[in-house]
Symmetry: C2
Subunit: 187 residues, 2 copies
DNA sequence: GTCTATACCGTGATAGAC
DNA sequence: GTCTATCACGGTATAGAC
């Protein structure tokens, strides 16, 4: 792995653990085992390096989501698979957590990959819900965009509940509640 | 308002805007119009002042929640009122956002009021759902604790979606989706 | 391309005058 | 009770040697 890659990977870890405001170049360099010079050679500064790290994390998350949402099964099953997929719940969402970072939100450049990733997953789920409506698995009264937002919000909020209590249980409880509301009447 | 109160209020605002890690004593003092001495006279340091601020915000939030959840109406209507209550969506939840703060989560003392507040609201909603089940407004197959976690998660996650996109719309969309799933079949 | 040295400012806390 | 002075340390960036 190149020095540039090590810097990006270290930044990704720290952004996940401590957010943008809580992550210092010094901490990144220590974790990457690199000196100041390397970082400022490959990147213009902290925001530039963070952008590279966020973009890589965003791509990863998209791929992971597509892995379950694009998998086999009925629309309900694919959404269930998304909701139940293995997660490191107490670590939170590496993309969602950035929305609570004032410096990320203040920068259109840093916020863009966050926005795009969440939006992409939302549209993906919305399409699956519409598919489920056509197949009669979901009530036609439901709105794909709305349910997609609810599904995504339940996940993002589930992390909040879990981290507040210090246990992953609350995440799973919220997911079970949503699934009980989504369960097709036929089953 | 006493100096101590001004310090606490300034801290509350900054914790909401920038989180714990992003808030410096200097910024607090500037906003409160006080000197260093005042702060260290009334509080032992930044964590102590933050604890006072978080406790006050937690009490406020609990009171606001009780205002709608303990209001008039059927169980569904009270939950709807909670979900639809006026919020400064783009500012996020002053309590929920703290769960993404590494230093808050690392401290049992700072995390406690966050945990207790969220837990209290969750139990309050769970009771209302159970009430609704007794009245036949909610399906008996639903679980109060689960639905309560879903409701709270939708709200907390709604803030994430809204802040990612820079618009409150996503919050409302998620709430509408949840309400469409919760709507009593009778109506 | 990577390193160390240096600089400057902000953070968080203490000391002691008023 | 509040102020300013001071302090040690960390954050972010630059310079220049190797």
């Amino acid at each position: 792995m190149s020095t540039s890659d090590r810097l990006i990977e270290s930044t990704r870890e720290l952004l996940w653990e401590r957010g943008y405001v809580g992550t210092s170049p010094k901490a990144i360099l220590e974790r990457a085992g690199a000196g100041q010079g390397s970082m400022y050679h490959h990147f213009r500064g902290k925001p530039d390096l963070a952008l590279a790290a966020i973009r890589r994390t965003a791509e990863d998350l998209r791929a992971t989501a597509e892995g379950v949402l694009g998998g086999p099964g009925t629309p309900y099953e694919r959404i269930e698979a998304y909701l139940r997929r293995e997660r490191d719940v107490l670590r939170g969402c590496p993309i969602g957590r950035l929305t609570m970072d004032p410096d990320v939100i203040a920068s259109d450049e840093l916020r863009a990959p966050v926005d795009e990733t969440i939006d992409w997953i939302r549209e993906r789920i919305a399409g699956i819900v519409e598919e489920g409506k056509e197949q009669g698995q979901f009530a036609s009264s439901l709105d794909g965009e709305e349910i997609a937002a609810t599904v995504l919000a339940t996940v993002q909020g589930g992390y909040v509940l879990a981290r507040a209590s210090g246990s992953p249980a609350a995440f799973d409880t919220g997911v079970r509640g949503l699934l009980s509301l989504l369960t097709p009447p036929s089953s």
